[in-house]
Amino acid sequence: MIVSMTLELKDIPGQLVLALSPISEFHGNIMSVIHQHDEKTPRGTIPVQITFEIEHRVLDNLIVRLENSGVKVARVGEERLRSTVSVILIGHIVHSDMGDTIDKIDSTGFAEVVDMSLSMPAVEKTSSAYLVINAVGEDELGRALDIMREVADKKDLLMIEPIRLNSVGA
């Protein structure tokens, strides 16, 4: 799941690391950090907005860990697009109109391609792409994946998905 959190840090050095390291300890993937140093709260603390991807089951433990280390968790919000999946595509991706592929996902209204990296070794060789798709929920994510599979099949791309049982009782 993708979480956005507002933390309040004391205005002394080393506080940001204190806030970020528990997130990586819980294998969270930090996506953005907004550190508003000139916007102090009435309490004299500095608000920081952090967006990260993390497994749902460790979120409560993370919050406890943050609070115990003196970081105040002011707000925890789940992102609208809270389900996420990564896939890899291999094939003649550029020639197959990647924009169209992404449009097919984005136009659903319930899912978006939020990240993409492309690697093209040479013109005549097959290229590889890494895509992150977010959706409003697990069912919608499943539907977005169905669309991707269909597109990959039609455009003769190999699509590599994550293992599936991983999320169930893992």
Partner: protein, 332 residues
């Protein structure tokens, strides 16, 4: 002392591994009160038969020097039907087109009242339920731990240790060749063709690698798992298979940068059988490297159980066969 007579049908890497294991475990077997005698060994050129027990060392030496164990011309079928013994160790090579000669050997063994221990995947991928039912009808054991995952005891784990559990799904890496190729490609950033060549030189991949790299071997093993553990009646034609030949070093690098590795994963869930390259988080127990095999079994009571180990090799496969032989000896 309980005397147990066995035959070894097929004397290639696996058959010889079984012979060597029996030799090296002689003292252990004696302590267990078991006098294990090999009364027949056959390979493609002929056979040796001795109802009192073959000199195994001698047979191994002859195979090494002459390329065959044969001292007579009686066939595997002759041994199975005519020589009095308890267990047929069927270790002929896998044939996925019609299962022969293993299938004929197994059918005859069950008909003539002999238990089967096998490493041969072909007959099980094509006629699993027929063989299983024939064994049950005749009150015989049909054991096949060595067919999947080499030394990794998947069937024993599920059928004995996890008895009572319902298996929700299984994911595994069951082909060491593919796992070696993907691991090397990822670590050395080498293209598929080059790593394949290297694997062939090391003897990890066959001269004709199709069977491994196109996912066929993985699919066959998945079918045996599905039939044995989920009670399905599937053949390898029911598996949705994608191999690893199209995977690029760039794809592996992109995966690596995002904390994933790419593995050829077998998956059995809700009656669906799939073999395909998958993204596996680096810290996930399925992310084993080199030629390792691994199976992750999700059950209703025990949760997730993951075991990994050597998926191939003469002695490693013989370990599973010996364990099956001892199971039969102790339970019959």
């Amino acid at each position: 002392m309980k005397t147990v007579k066995i035959s070894i049908i097929g004397f290639g890497a696996v058959g010889q591994g079984v012979a060597r294991s029996i030799l090296s475990k002689r003292e252990y077997l004696k302590k267990q009160g078991i006098d294990l005698r090999v009364v027949g060994i056959s390979d493609s050129k002929g056979s040796e038969i001795n109802t009192e027990g073959i000199d195994i060392e001698n047979a191994l030496l002859r195979k090494k020097q002459k390329g065959s164990v044969a001292v007579g011309t009686r066939s595997a079928l002759d041994i199975i039907a005519d020589v009095e013994h308890d267990i047929v160790v069927e270790a002929t090579p896998t044939n996925i087109n019609n299962g022969e000669p293993g299938l004929g050997n197994m059918r005859l063994a069950l008909k003539s009242g002999k238990h089967i221990v096998t490493s041969n995947k072909g007959p099980l991928a094509l006629h699993f339920n027929e063989l299983k039912e024939a064994a049950q009808d005749n009150g015989l054991f049909f054991r096949y731990e060595a067919t999947v995952g080499g030394a990794v005891p998947i069937f024993n784990l599920v059928h004995e240790a996890l008895a009572g559990n319902r298996v929700v799904g299984i994911e595994g890496i069951l082909n060491g060749t593919c796992n070696y190729i993907l691991t090397r490609m990822s670590e050395e950033r080498m293209p598929y063709d080059l790593v394949l060549k290297e694997a062939q030189e090391l003897g990890i991949a066959e001269t004709d690698p199709t069977y491994d790299v196109e996912g066929i071997d993985s699919a066959i093993k998945l079918v045996i798992i599905a039939n044995s553990i989920f009670g399905l009646d599937s053949t390898y034609r029911d598996v949705d298979v994608t191999g690893i030949t199209k995977i690029t070093p760039e794809a592996l690098e992109l995966a690596n940068r995002n904390n994933y590795v790419v593995k050829l994963v077998c998956e059995a869930r809700e009656g669906k059988l799939t073999v395909a390259p998958r993204l596996v988080l680096k810290r996930h127990p399925l992310a084993v490297g080199g030629t390792q095999n691994v199976a992750s079994i999700l059950t209703d009571l025990a949760g997730r159980i993951t075991i990994s180990g050597k998926g191939a090799g003469s002695i490693e496969t013989a370990s599973s066969i010996l364990s099956d032989i001892l199971y039969i000896v102790r339970n019959s």
